[in-house]
């Protein structure tokens, strides 16, 4: 399972939008990504990007 800590923020935002808009195949992530606003996706991506890799 790939970790999210320290990943580039814009990469994470793009991944979430791709999940949400159906451009990236997924099991659960499309269904979850469609629950969040752009601002929330930005905030979550900024949080994960700021975490240190364990």
């Amino acid at each position: 399972m790939p970790g999210l800590a320290g990943r580039d923020k814009s990469e994470l935002v793009r991944l979430m939008r791709d999940f949400r808009d159906g451009r990236r195949p997924a099991t659960i992530m499309r269904q979850l990504a469609r629950g969040y606003t752009d601002a929330e996706i930005e905030a979550a991506a900024a949080y994960f990007a700021a975490q240190k890799t364990p």
């Binding site: 099991t27 659960i28 979850l32 629950g35 969040y36 929330e40």
Partner: protein, 422 residues
């Protein structure tokens, strides 16, 4: 970390605490939050209160068990695919967040004096109290199981732990050709898909080891309560001949000696009888008028999880009356706890309470040891109705159980255990 190093750190933190006694002004100003119950909701709340308040609050967790046992994945123990030890975790991972832990039982609340009484006689004072006692079984609904020794013979295994292990022993001891009958109570109950997952994993065990045996699901509900298409596909496919599903099978009582489920119009004899009883909020959350949803569950403000009946008391997890379509799941309990922890920290330290909380829930069901399906949802606060609503277009279920999601389910479990307990 080695034991020696941990002991040294513990000794060092005691020394620091001792040093603080000489500065009583700070101690007197530190607000106190007590969390009762260390399941997914309570442990998460205690952790995040400690983490986010960074020492500005005194956080105490009262839990009667010395270790956490995960209900998610515990049906795998019944199928013989996991050991309970793999689902059992210590609480000492919360220590680094400054959570003071008390192994004991909370027995009574005085909401006016803001005190909590423990079984040992000790009384603790709180500024805010968070109750996450989970659910209690309503034994009055099954008269013959009001007698505690009867419950050692007819097991529920609906709280993971010794009951899970004991039910596995019963299944192992059952001769081939036997019947495992399980009763599902009327909704709402903890974890909607879990009874059907249990039927699948016991059927997988029978198909591998006891081919003449059968699972009979006696469901009080009129239909499968979650992921119906997936469970029916398994019962009519891989488990054909191993699972018989009977809807509208409300239980009126059991015959303990004869291992018989008594339904309205028939009796069903079993070799192993598993009765999941109807459920209600844990007793302490039903005290002081807090079970104000049909006397069974507790209504809360979804911005703070504060009881609508008692100020300064917050309630989480399976004890609350959830909003429509909010499942009683471990994931949901963990999510509610974070919203509550942030709100309680804000209320006690002069911060802002988030006006638009969002919760997610993911629930993975094992149709077999290696084939898993999920059901997911996203819930957002609606200021107009002051409740949580599913975000339109979000959520859904797997089209079919598959091996890819078995890997995701295992990762989900590792992540939520770590998020809740460390």
């Amino acid at each position: 970390m080695t034991r020696g190093r941990r002991d040294f750190l513990r000794a060092a933190s005691v020394a620091v605490a001792g040093a603080l006694v000489s500065r009583p002004i700070r101690a007197a100003k530190t607000a106190s939050v007590i969390v009762v119950g260390g399941g997914f909701a309570g442990a998460t709340a205690a952790k995040y209160l400690g983490k986010w308040s960074a020492g500005a609050l005194r956080v105490t967790l009262v839990e009667r068990a010395s270790a956490f046992v995960s209900c998610p994945l515990s049906n795998l123990v019944l199928g013989g695919m996991k050991e309970i030890a793999e689902l059992t975790f210590p609480y000492d991972g919360l220590d680094r967040w400054g959570v003071r832990r008390i192994t004991g039982e909370a027995t009574a609340i005085d909401p006016v004096a803001r005190t909590l009484k423990l079984a040992g006689g000790e009384t603790l004072r709180y500024d805010r109290l968070i109750l996450s006692p989970g659910m209690d079984f309503d034994w009055d609904a099954i008269p013959s199981l009001k007698d505690p020794p009867a419950r050692e013979k007819i097991l529920h295994a609906w709280k993971a732990g010794p009951q899970t292990v004991a039910l596995r022993r019963q299944l192992e001891a059952m001769p081939d050709g036997g019947v495992f009958a399980m009763h599902v109570p009327l909704a709402p109950y903890r974890c909607p898909p879990a009874p059907y997952e249990r039927a699948c994993l016991v059927a997988q065990y029978f198909a591998a080891r006891k081919k003449r045996s059968k699972v009979i699901v006696l469901d009080a509900n009129e239909d499968v309560q979650a992921e119906k298409a997936l469970f029916l596909a398994a019962w009519n496919g891989a488990y054909k001949g191993y699972v018989e599903y009977r809807p509208n099978s409300g239980l009126t009582d059991v015959d303990v000696a004869a291992l018989t489920a008594k339904l309205d119009f028939e009796d069903v004899r079993a070799d192993v009888l598993n009765v999941i009883p109807p459920q209600r909020a844990g007793a302490i959350a039903r005290s002081s008028g807090m079970a104000n949803a049909n006397g069974r569950f507790c209504q809360v403000d979804f911005l703070t999880y504060e009881s609508t009946a008692q100020p300064n008391i917050h309630i989480l997890g399976d004890a609350i009356q959830p909003a429509s379509l909010m499942p009683r799941s471990g994931h949901m309990a963990n999510q509610q706890a974070k919203v509550c922890a942030a709100a309680v920290a804000a209320l006690l330290t002069g911060g802002e309470v988030n006006r638009l909380p969002v919760l997610t829930s993911a629930c993975y069901s094992y149709l077999s040891e290696r084939e898993v399906a999920h059901i997911a949802s996203v819930h957002r606060y609606d200021p107009a109705t002051r409740t949580m609503s599913v975000v339109p277009g979000s959520g859904g279920a797997s089209p079919a159980a598959n091996a890819e999601e078995a890997a995701y389910a295992a990762a989900w479990a590792e992540n939520i255990w770590a998020d809740t307990l460390t």
